[in-house]
Each structure stands twice: as C-alpha cells, then as structure tokens.
Symmetry: D2
Subunit: 272 residues, 4 copies
C-alpha cells in the first residue's frame, strides 16, 4: 500500500491515520483507535511471496530457500523458469540474481501471467524479469541458452526435460516443483534418460519452536506438505561411456547433507 496524508488504514484491530506513519522510520509502533499496536514494517521479499495474489498454489519460502542453497544460486545468474504460475518463485529469484542476472519466465495462460506480472511489479523486481507467452512443450526453437539454472513448475515436468537440457549450460542446474510422488518418479526417470546427474529428490520441512522461559517446546500447529523438489545437473556423457554408467544412472546416489564428521566424532567420544 502507498501512504497518503489524508487516508486511513482499516484493520481488524482498529484504524490508523496514514499521517501518523508518514515520516516515521520503518519498524515504528502505531496505536490504532482501538488502542492496539500495529508495526509499520518494510515489506521483504518473504512478505511479497507470502502475500502474493495466487492464481495457483505458490512455492513456499521453505522450498524456495532450500532450492536457492542447493543449486548454489548466485547474484548474476541467468535463470529460465518454465511455468510462471503466480510469479512468486520468479520474484524470489529476481531479487537475488539482480542487478546483472535475469529471470526469463515462460507460461501459456494469459490470466496467470497477468496476475504474476502484478505480483512481480509490486515486489519491485520487474526490471530483472522477462515474461513471455510461449509453450516450451511444443516449441521447436529454444528461446534461451547457457542458462545457469532451469526451473520447471508444471504438472508434467518430465515433458520439458529435453528442452531444459538444451537451454542449460554444461553442469547447469535443473530444478522442478513436484506436488506428488508420482511426478517425482516420472521426472527422475526422464532426467536419467536425458543425461542428468546428481539427481536428488527432497521434501523440506520447517518446524516452529515456542521458546518461552522454562516452557520451550515445538508448536502445536504444524504445516503439512507443500511440494517435493527434484534437483539435477546436466552432464555430457558420450555414448561409449553411458554404457559404463548405465547401472549407476539407474540407481543414482541420493546425496544427503552429512553432519560435520569432526563434530560428530567429538560427540560420540563423549558417549559410552
């Protein structure tokens, strides 16, 4: 929302005059007419993502964050996104790859694209996003190449694996959002077939803890499932070597983060 001197902001805890807020630093506590407190916080990308207008199920920060860390996202990266959806993932990525990186995002539904465009503009990152209506499932010519990352958010992500491969640079990262296990299974097979490596399927869980003096415990309320995530890297294996690799590729090692073994040993030495 934009503040204007003569306006009022109505909330379920009361009304505040915009003029009470103007000139105040971010973070200031404002008293409503009902005697309740509202904080004037500067919106973050987290806030934009969580409050985005939703045409489809959004990707949640717990998943966005893990993906960014897992692919080793860097400012400056060139990203291709197949399936713009509500634009929440686009917004998140653009805010991190800017100012030299860019997100090229493709969708086929003009209604979704209109909503996504609004969400991206609101978050102030539209300069770093190019949105195009294009069906990459059927497109003959790929609109991008040498992408650092290709992100797929479609119901049938396995269909565009060859296209993603063409747009990726060598050893670039492929990521897909898969709400069901069945999608993961079909996608992993397509990735193995299309010469991808280091295939990892995960789900991300965030549990909140109520840290109160002498009464610390996990929260009674919890979030359930949002989505699974598939990750892989493009490799280039000559046919002669694929033969050697094939039993491996069929059973890819699932990379898991290992706890620092030094720490672990010091710990177990303390034990019986």
């Amino acid at each position: 929302m934009k503040v204007a001197p003569k306006q009022k902001f109505h909330t379920h805890v009361g009304i505040i005059d915009h003029k009470k807020v103007i000139g105040k630093p971010f973070g200031t506590a404002i008293k409503t007419n009902k005697g309740k407190i509202i904080f004037a916080l500067e919106p973050t990308i987290y806030d934009y993502v969580m409050k985005s207008q939703r045409s489809t199920q959004i990707v949640y920060p717990k998943d966005l964050g893990y993906i960014a860390a897992r692919i080793g996202l860097q400012s400056g990266h060139k990203i291709v996104e197949i399936g713009t959806g509500s634009g929440s993932f686009t917004t998140f990525l653009a805010s991190l790859v800017k100012p030299k990186g860019h997100v090229y995002t493709y969708d086929v539904d003009e209604n979704f694209m209109a909503i996504a465009r609004k969400n991206i503009e609101k978050a102030g990152v539209s300069k770093y996003v190019t949105m195009t209506k294009l069906d990459l499932k059927t497109s003959k010519k790929m609109p991008q190449k040498d992408a650092d990352v290709v992100i797929v958010d479609l119901g049938d992500p396995w269909v565009v694996v060859p296209q993603a491969r063409k747009m990726l640079k060598g050893s670039g990262a492929f990521v897909a959002i898969c709400p069901t296990m069945n999608q993961l299974e079909k996608l992993a097979a397509a990735l193995r077939k299309n010469d991808f490596f280091d295939i990892e399927c995960t789900e991300q869980i965030v549990r909140t803890i109520e840290a109160r003096d002498g009464k610390t415990r996990h929260s009674f309320r919890a979030i359930g499932h949002t989505t699974y995530v598939a990750f892989a890297r493009k490799v280039i294996t000559p046919p002669s070597l694929r033969k050697i690799l094939s039993p491996i590729v069929e059973q890819p090692e699932v990379e898991s983060e290992e706890v620092d073994s030094a720490e672990d040993e010091s710990l177990s030495s303390l034990k019986k």
Copy 2:
C-alpha cells in the same frame, strides 16, 4: 583445483590426466584409468559450502536457504555477521548480495579467521566481504549501522542483541544460529526485552526421496539435527506503547507458513 596440462588427478575410482579435461565443457564425463566415470562439474556455492575447510561446525545449506528466504535476502543488502566461524555462511551471503551488497563479518579468533579467509577466497567472493577482528560483545562503538540483516553465530547470541539492534536499520532482520534449545530460550527472552518483533524459532529438515520406477520411498539414511534458527525484526516501540504490548510480547505469535487456503479448500471439497 586448478588444471595443468602435465598433472594427473588421483581419486579412489582411478586416475585422470588433466589434459583430458582441458578444453572440455563443464559437465563432461571423463573415464579414469580404472574404467570409471568422473564428471567435471563447475563448483557451485553449495559445493564450496559443503567442502569448506571447517574450524567449527558449519551452517548447512538447508538452514542457509531457509534463512535467506525467511529474511527476504536481496542482492544489494548490507549484512553484518557476528561470528565468522568457517566462513561458510559468509560465502553464501556474499554470493547473493554481490555486486552492490556487502558482508561485514567479525570474529575474535585469528585461527578461525585465517581458515574462513581461505574458504571465502576459494569461492571467489572475497571482494564482497570485509573481515575484521573485533569483539562486539565488549566494543563500545558499533562498526556498522543501517544493516539490512545482522546474523549471529556465537555460543551466547543473547549477549549481542543490543549491539545487533544498534547496527540494524528500522524493521531490519536479526538471525541467530542456535544448536541448543537452551540458547533459543535465552535468545528469545533477550529479543523480547530489546524491542524485537515477529520472533520465530525454527528447525529445518530436509528428507531425501529415492524416486525409482515403482519403488519410490524416502531414503533409509537421514540427517539429524544441525541447528535451530531464531529470527526477529527490529521495531521501535515508545515506552507508552510497550505497556500495551507487553502481554503480547511475552507470548509472541509464532508465524507459520500457511498452506494456500484456496488449494486447501478445493482439496477438502474432494473429501467426504
């Protein structure tokens, strides 16, 4: 590692000549003298973090990623890090806030700092990091102000809450890494006392799934605990309003990500 025409690379699956790799695109499969395959992948920030030399327990990508998403990290942000540790968090942050943002990191242990410096240089982000030996627990004058984010990785993070507050901009984000519940409890109390809001304590869990044709299931091996994370935002509450707030501040709302209710409803309408 740097490749040199006359060198060989020895691994547990055999030896490869560097010259076999030179000139090849990233991702290329190379056959070792034992007939095994090695892929020449371009290292990502994830790889640098996971392979960093460790003076202390590192912060894992699952935690790094959630923190980045939760605080709404953006390229261009000014970050203060209290406790450089092995520099893995520093590296991750610098790779995202570059080229206009910066990470100012403080530690007191010169041995840790030397290791961190090497890790940060290896990852190619030292230009965006300023490392200073300074004990912020006792320092009278704060070396930074108007930081977008202050990140604390100390055994007693609650001690530097007032210092973090001074360095943060209004509504800026505070984050601390807390391996134990006891640290969370003390820290949350200090944050409430020092006029922070939206206090959230979490743990992040990543589970890997083995997606294989007709045999998809979670992995038998799992990672356990690495750390808990505390998050808060600096607010400015005049003493008169703190009184109103106090019963609230004592029982801060634990923000939890809510599943898109539209989706949820369409789901439950499918049910009985």
Copy 3:
C-alpha cells in the same frame, strides 16, 4: 451409546433410527434420512482414547503406541501410573495388560479422577484398573512394589523419580510424558542421579499420506507437537562402580533404532 429400539440418532449428516442398526453386523452402512451413509463401527480402544472426555491434554495414540513398544509392554504386566489425568493412558494400558495384569493409577484431583473413571468404564476396562487418591510426591510409604513399568504424567515428573524407583522391579521401565524440553532436561538429570540407565528422550511424529491413483503425496494438514517422552530403566550400581560410570552417565548414549544393516548394505550396493 447404547442402542434402543425406539430411539433415533441425530447427526450432522442426518438422522437414523436405532432399529435400523439393531441386529446388523458391525461395519454395516446405514442410510440417514438425508441420504447420507453412516457406518456402524465397533468402537476400538483408539476410538475410546480419541473420544474420551478430557480434563487435561490427553496422550495421543502415536505416543501411547511408541511407549508400549519401547518399554516392551506385555499382557500380564503390573503398571503404576502417577497422574491419572483423563484416564486415556490408563485405558490404553489396561486394555493390553488384561486379564492378568493390572494398572494402579494415582492422582490428587478428585474432579479429574471422576472424569477418568467414566472414560475407563466406558472403554470396559475398569476391572483391570485400581484408582487411588494419593499424593506420591509426599507419601512416605509406597503403595506398590515390583512394578514392571512406572508411568508419570505430572508437570514436575522429576520430583517422583525416587518414588518410581522404589516401586519398580529391577531393570523395570520408567516412562514420563513431558510437553516441554525443560521438563525433559530436569527429568533426565534426575534419572541419571537416581541410578537409571538407557535414558532416551524422544518425540513421535506421524505423517499421513494421501494415496490416490497417480497423485500420491503427504497430507497438506499436519499435526504439530503433542508431547515428548522420556524412557529409562532402573539399574543397581554399587557406589564403587558408580565412580567408573559417572562420565558415562553424564552423557548417556541415546539409543536410536538402527535400520537393518543387511538391508542397508544391499541397498548401497545398488548405488554408485
């Protein structure tokens, strides 16, 4: 509920005549006057626990079940329960230890006890339960001895550790329900001090999966935290040996279930 020929059962999906149900086998589908289906299921102990009248927070089946399995509960066991609460734990235990075993349960709040008595009677296991009003925190003489298991559901379970010890047989099992981490911490210290061994603190999580053709995934809704559980076994360590043990006792090994290593190896041999 008891069925009677002339009565009707009113529900939010409509009304059914009791006479429609009488004489039908359990499991029969009955049509309500609104054309909806109701199944006449025989209530199980799970149903009694979940539908029990609650004076206090109940212990959930996910926790009850793990406890039963962890202590190696057997039919015939003699159980002492300190803190009857709503009687849901009592009911669960009695249904398993009957007909030769028995649950002796103690509480100090007569209102709670009245509710618990009703819940236990409804479930049909009152014959195997002896409920006594007695404050075991202050009681000089222990009302039981040679118990297979002592279960504590109090806000301050560490207070009754010596009493539990006196009532337990050698190597008998101690279990306590602890909603907070702080309780676990104090209790574990008391257990170490009072010559208990194999101390294990856990939390139990059950996630539901929606198994639907081609759309299988975890549920969007999830349960959060209910309680932590502490487990230990009574041992007898002469003072001369406690000295040897003490560094161990300070850092008790947390027993974790290990996946069958044979299975695990066969699995990893399939991998790269």
Copy 4:
C-alpha cells in the same frame, strides 16, 4: 543367553564370569575384567524384536507401536498375519494378545519360517502363535474367520485384500506394511474397491533428543525411512448404498490426530 556357573561372557568391553551374575537382581551393574560396567537387564519384547535374527527387513518398534495403538489392539484379540517374515511382528503381537488371544501367521518360505520360529520361541510367546505354511494368495478356503485384525507384510499386499476381508469380523482392522509409496497407492485402491473404510496411510518418525543440562537439542544422528503403514476397517455396504458412497470412497478422508482443541484455543488466546 542362559547363564551357567562355569561360563564366561565375552564382550568388546571385557569379560564377565556368569557366576558374578547368578543370584543378582535384574539391573545389577557388573564390572568386566577391563574395568568397564555391564548391566544385567531383563530382556523385554523390544529387545527381542531389535535383536531378532533377520531373514527380511523387520518392522521397527516405532511402527509396531503406532499400529497397535491405531487398531486399538487389546489383549484377547484374534490376529491373522499374512507374511511371517522374521517373526518380529508376530512376537510383538503375541506378547500383547496373550493369554487368551492368538496370532495365526502364514508364510510360504520354509527358511524364513524356521528363523521366525526361533525368534518367537526365544521371546517366550510360541504358545500364543500358530505358524502355518500356506499361500493365501491362491488358497480357496480361508483358514480363519472373525479375526479382530489382519496384518499383511507382503511385497504385493493388494493381492490378498479379498482374503483378508473374508477372515475379518465386521468393522475389523486391516493393516499392511508398505516400504514404498507405490505399494501404498495400489493397496489403497484395492481397499476402496473391496469395501474398506477409514483408510489411512502413514509414516512414523521417532526423533531422539539429547537432554543435557543447558545443552538440550535433537540428536545429530537420525533414522530415516523404515516403512509406510496402511490401515483400514472392513465395512458392509449394500450395492444400493455404494453408489451414494462412491465419490467419498474415491477420496477417503485421511483421519489425522487432532490436538485437543480446548488446549489449542487456550494457547491461541495467549497470543496476539
């Protein structure tokens, strides 16, 4: 192991003479010749399950316990088990349904059955178990009827759903152990088709917590996946009513344990 006056027990922490143990109460600490402590604990069913000789992957106590609680297992129940495996589930069930209940267990592999028989005997519950070599997939006549519970531990549990139905009493409980999601999916479809209700698929997770003074946290080591569990109850729906039910049966409600709402509300009233 049986103790004998002249024997010694060799362990990795030293040797103890059996005669040191004879006559001592369970729980007694014994010093080995290396000065280490060994506790003489009475084995529980948990110990028998965890130490059972394994022909196949066993079902773990975390899963056994949840199943017992979910089906409302009672002493006295009549259980049919299809797939004896290593007999660990058989042992667990027999120890709880005894002395009046019974476990009828069926397998086709004589080698597995021999191992299972030993495990069941060792645990002292063979009196309450009848083990039969019989292939229930092809058997025309069912060997049991009116079972309270049918438990299936086969690679293709959906095949025996009609057989299980015939052996169950009205509203009796069906349970199957499914290591993969694909099994869950096929099984759930078969259960819906065969007039089962209250279908629930779950996974059980137990996390251990290290409760140490001022340093309480989750364990660094964790167990991953062992198995998923499917649960359902037999109902009797006349064809005329199945039509009404069918859209429901296709999307069965996944019953999830709900936190006591009273508690929950009192909690949220404390929050902002």
